[in-house]
Amino acid sequence: MLKIKNLKAGIEEVQILKGINLEVNSGEVHAIMGPNGSGKSTLSSVIAGKEDYEVGNGSVDFLGENLLDMDPEERAHKGVFLSFQYPIEIPGISVSNFIKTSLTEKRKALGQDPLPVKDLLKMMREKMELLSIKKGYLSRNMNEGFSGGEKKRNEIFQMAMLEPKLSILDETDSGLDIDALRIVANGVNKLRTKDNATILITHYQRLLEHIVPDFVHVLHDGKIIKSGGKELALELEEKGYDWITKK
């Protein structure tokens, strides 16, 4: 699904990603771990198409197309979803209005008519149930006055509604208490199919107890320095990043 080859990127002449290679297939869950400043968030931003980053070498192929040639919204239409580490407030725009706009734009790009309001509401209700979201939430303004946990849950709710092929969850576990973490992780697990894939970006092993990855990669100084199975995360937890980075 996603093939990243020798990806180099930076911001204002500071190189952050120094040659990333990563292949993600349908049905897989990959965890990318690493210490602060290793380039985890940059990687997710570059895949999503944030303009601040200048991409040098390398290629990102998504379902046979060059992702780097596309606008961020086009990438979204093709099925790339980023759950933001710090979700953005959009004052005055309700969650339901935002998601409706988002879904309508995606469907338009795919040549589909907008979902009838009745079906849209039904879908929203189902997905809310999935994430234990209370009534009244839909009419709140996007992330305005949301707690940390609510913001993250809102991200996963949007993911559930947009049904992306590739989801990148950037530090979705940060700022969540254990109950919220369980709910979010449960949601993510329920949304897993053999046709979609997930990249989890995280500091800690904690999230991986709830969402079990097929592969774990360690990112350090802009490069993936070690890859392994889920047991790698446990090893990291036990020994710390120094164990690898100082090798």
Partner: protein, 485 residues
Amino acid sequence: MSDIKKQTEDELLEEVTTSEYKYGFTTDIESDTIPKGLSEDVVRTISSKKNEPEWMLEYRLNAYNAWLEMKEPDWANVSYEKPNYQDVIYYSAPKQKPVLDSLDDLDPEMKKTFDKLGISLEEQKRLANVAVDIVMDSVSVATSFKETLAEKGIIFCSISDAIQEHPELVKKYLGTVVPVRDNFFSALNSAVFSDGSFCYIPKGVQCPMELSTYFRINEAGTGQFERTLLIADEGSQVSYLEGCTAPMRDENQLHAAVVELIALDNADIKYSTVQNWYPGDKDGNGGVFNFVTKRGVCHKNAKISWTQVETGSAVTWKYPSCILKGDNSIGEFFSVAVTNNKQQADTGTKMVHLGKNTKSTIIAKGISAGYSDGNYRGLVRIAKGATNSRNFSQCDSLLMGDKCGSHTFPYIEVKNNSSQVEHEATTSKIGEDQIFYCNQRGIGTEEAIALIVNGYCKDVLNQLPMEFAVEAQKLLEISLEGSVG
């Protein structure tokens, strides 16, 4: 800032200038027009063409003489070449049968015009709850739903008709809220006003529908001097909508309207405006000068609420105001003012608290894009006797790009120490982060801006009646199209 960002902003500015006015066309209708210029003779001609009684002529001549001694104000934070008042045509009426039996009798050309505006009469009729009094170049050409209103004793007609048929009401109230000598433009309007709307809601009557007027400037070089007089008698209630679009013109067109609202004891008036007159081209050529005096007076327990969405005009000079004369009266002002390209706006409100326990609320949202300049100017005055009065003001500005400007001039005068005045102001830019977030959710930049702007204006748009709010939203999108690349 990265090169990429800089590049985007350059593109942004490039695109701003390509956003052209969408309603630029003229209707080919024969007009009955008098020569350019203003003199006592012209005032007399207007009055006689309209077959006005002597007292009306005297009112006009008195205003004309006052105007001669007055100077055009220049304290507003706008710069423009002052119009040559001898180069303006002061009267123009479409040559039409004076009275239409039904809307179907409307000139087909005129009908087309309304269709282009997307507010076809059919649509209006289907909205059922809306009575439309269409003013095209100064004279009312169609008035509908009159009978339904008449059953309730409501008078909704052109001001010309009101002068003929209800002289006692016009005489009693005209010029009581905005006196002839109030300002340069109100004096001019009082001398030459061609037409406008008149509305009277009898005691205790709730107007069963929104009263709506669509204004449109049509004749090249024709000044528009609309006069509106709205009286809500004791305990009555009315919601009035005013919407405007004008065709594209090369020379500046002058518009100096006067609107007077009278809310008697316990009455409630809601006055909503959507204004998108031709703003001029991207270089600031042409466009409408909108110099408007709007003011209402509230008697005991009365309420006046102004809502405006202003996206048009080259230069706007407009301060819908409330005189809170009666005890416990309430004044409200909700405004969205958008400027793009080289538009200039100096707009705001005045809340004058005279009665005890009077309350006022001001929510003003400015949006500036391109090379434009948006100014909020507001006065809150609390008189000595206005004990326990309260005001809350919130003025927000949203900037798009780095070539536009936004200023806030709040004046506060409090002469009473039991009163409370609050003022909040914010200035923000549409964040790259917000746009990227929307982009990531599949929402393109144009739509993202429309969405963010709508959210920003929500408090004001919510004040508008439903179908008007939808139109206003569309208008905001049109006016800001291409303003961010």
